[in-house]
Symmetry: none
DNA sequence: CATGAATGAGACTTCATTCAT
DNA sequence: AATGAATGAAGTCTCATTCAT
């Protein structure tokens, strides 16, 4: 179709065609319920082409996670605003919610899985970011607690993961951002 | 072997042999990673016998959840002790933690899955039980909040599901009961 | 079809149908040039049935060797006649030739492969049998040599394997039995 | 890189890069266990380039044999020394052994295959060379036999191929040259 | 009720080959 | 002459389910 692009661009286009199709199908039906053949048919390429760009079906899962990681690390991490620690924490989890919504709950469902080895790894970046906010808040006396910064981060994340989990259970049936905001506000009363 | 029992008992025994084996395997390896043949071999019955008691492989998942539901409903529900609402809530979640530990995290991992359609249904019974405790607490002024009882219950459950989720992520690597107790205590400072 | 036989016999029949078809195809086309699907189509069974009886495609190779081993061990080993050691040795290799001919050179070609890990194992039984004959011959002075029985056996086997190899190279185009007999006779002049 | 050479030299270089890489891989892993892509990656050329020089993957097998043939014909054939026929025959097979060792047993294993259509062709040159030696030996009375020169050659070659075969079976685990020398000496006692 | 042999669609993956650039 | 993206047929193996015994 596209005649002006050179071969490398074509290859990149093919890769993205496959990746996007796969991602879309994972969202809709879940990783275990789709086949490589299906991906390729929908993407309009040969089965063999899939294996030119991915070593195995599992590879696309890793790719999805890598992209998500990078998105959070480079895009979200440095945008946390607020006048004090509690505001920043609330804003952090608003970002977190937005970030989860981006994935759409269908995909999130696949990811929010206790057996998923990528899950803990994925969270690392975010937790580091939140930790800094908490540390500052404790120093400034904006947060009153007997817990260490690490413990506070964990306490918060556990509850917020519960929020995401609940949102998934309800098939994304309510506004996650608003809910996460309200929930976090309430939670911060503990401190 | 046992010839004196009548057919109904034999059938019951066969059913349980299959069910228990299946349950044990689901715990160990996850529903998607076991085969009907494997269940039957381990149970010492023919493949055909499986289909005498279950319409499909999926049937055993439903059964597992039904049993779990009933266990909670009939055994756990009425044992919540405590001098006031907050104590009762803490004790409720201690029961909840114990109940989850019973499943062992391997099985819980399979169950604690956002794609699991049984998950919401399963929680119903528990939430009703907790709701009563919360309602009494609000009436007696032991709980200060602007939220409705339903909202409080949901707020609490979301966080505690986050706790279970976290425990699963860590492969059951810490004492869930103690952690849930501490976590709930802290959480109740919001009220 | 066969109504009178019981299920176990039927299963045995199915196994043999698959095995014989596979063996026949290996002979005709070589192990690497046939497919499981092909075997099953020719045998008139489903692909799945193949895997009810064999764990993998490789399994049929092992089976072929096991059967060959057993045939030699139980049937051939004790039939070596002759008035003296040299006659017995000649008769031994006549048996050996007959045994190879049984395999038909097409199958033998597949077997007579230096990469075949079964090859050395396969020969063990035969070499033990020949060794006894040689030992007796040396004791009685019917064989004059400075070599040990083991060395003699090896010397003979190496040459005779060369004979089989040559026969395979010529696609079984001459009478192996007669040739092996003549060859062995000549070879024994060394002793 | 090298721009001064003309196209023909470049082409020759590319051809050799592919051929040598292919040969080396065949030695290491066997013809059936390597892929065209693998050859090209190791050779540092595009897959398409392979098909500029070879019509098919099979082509490289033919090439390997042709080269081997030529090597023996032009390099080995005229170097057979010895004071009499028997010495020359022994020396001939020492050359033969050296020649086989050169291939390394890994490659030899691939070649020493009864299904290999090139095998008989390959031997032709060598047999002609040996035949001359035998003919002279018979004329001079250095070899006593009722066999024709052709028969003697065949008799010897069959045994020595058995030697090579055995050496392959033992994964080159002993000194082929010495063994071939001893074996031939013993074998010549028949004449 | 119990058995287990038989089924066959369908999954993932490989790889020799082609051809437009 | 060189490239390498694209192809798609073919391979091995799995497994939920059926049904005659």
């Amino acid at each position: 179709m596209v005649k002006v692009t050179n071969r490398k661009l074509q290859a990149q286009a093919t890769y993205e065609k496959i990746y996007n199709t796969a991602m879309s199908l994972v969202e809709k039906k879940g990783f275990n319920n789709i086949t490589v053949k299906e991906i390729c048919e929908k993407a309009g390429v040969a089965v063999g082409s899939f294996y030119n760009y991915f070593n195995s079906k599992d590879d696309i899962l890793y790719e999805i996670f890598n992209k998500a990681d990078n998105f959070f690390l480079h895009t979200v991490a440095n945008r946390i605003e607020g006048e004090n620690a509690k505001e920043k924490i609330i804003n952090f989890f608003i970002h977190y919610a937005e970030y989860c919504k981006r994935d759409k709950f269908d995909q999130l469902k696949q990811i929010y899985n206790t057996s998923n080895p990528m899950f803990i790894k994925k969270g690392r970046y975010m937790q580091e970011v939140l930790k800094k906010v908490v540390e500052e808040g404790i120093e400034r006396g904006e947060i009153c607690t007997d817990m260490s910064p690490d413990e506070v981060v964990r306490f918060l994340f556990i509850a917020l993961r519960g929020v995401i989990f609940d949102w998934c259970l309800h098939d994304g049936g309510y506004d996650l951002t608003q809910f996460a905001k309200d929930y976090t506000e309430r939670l911060l009363k503990c401190f």
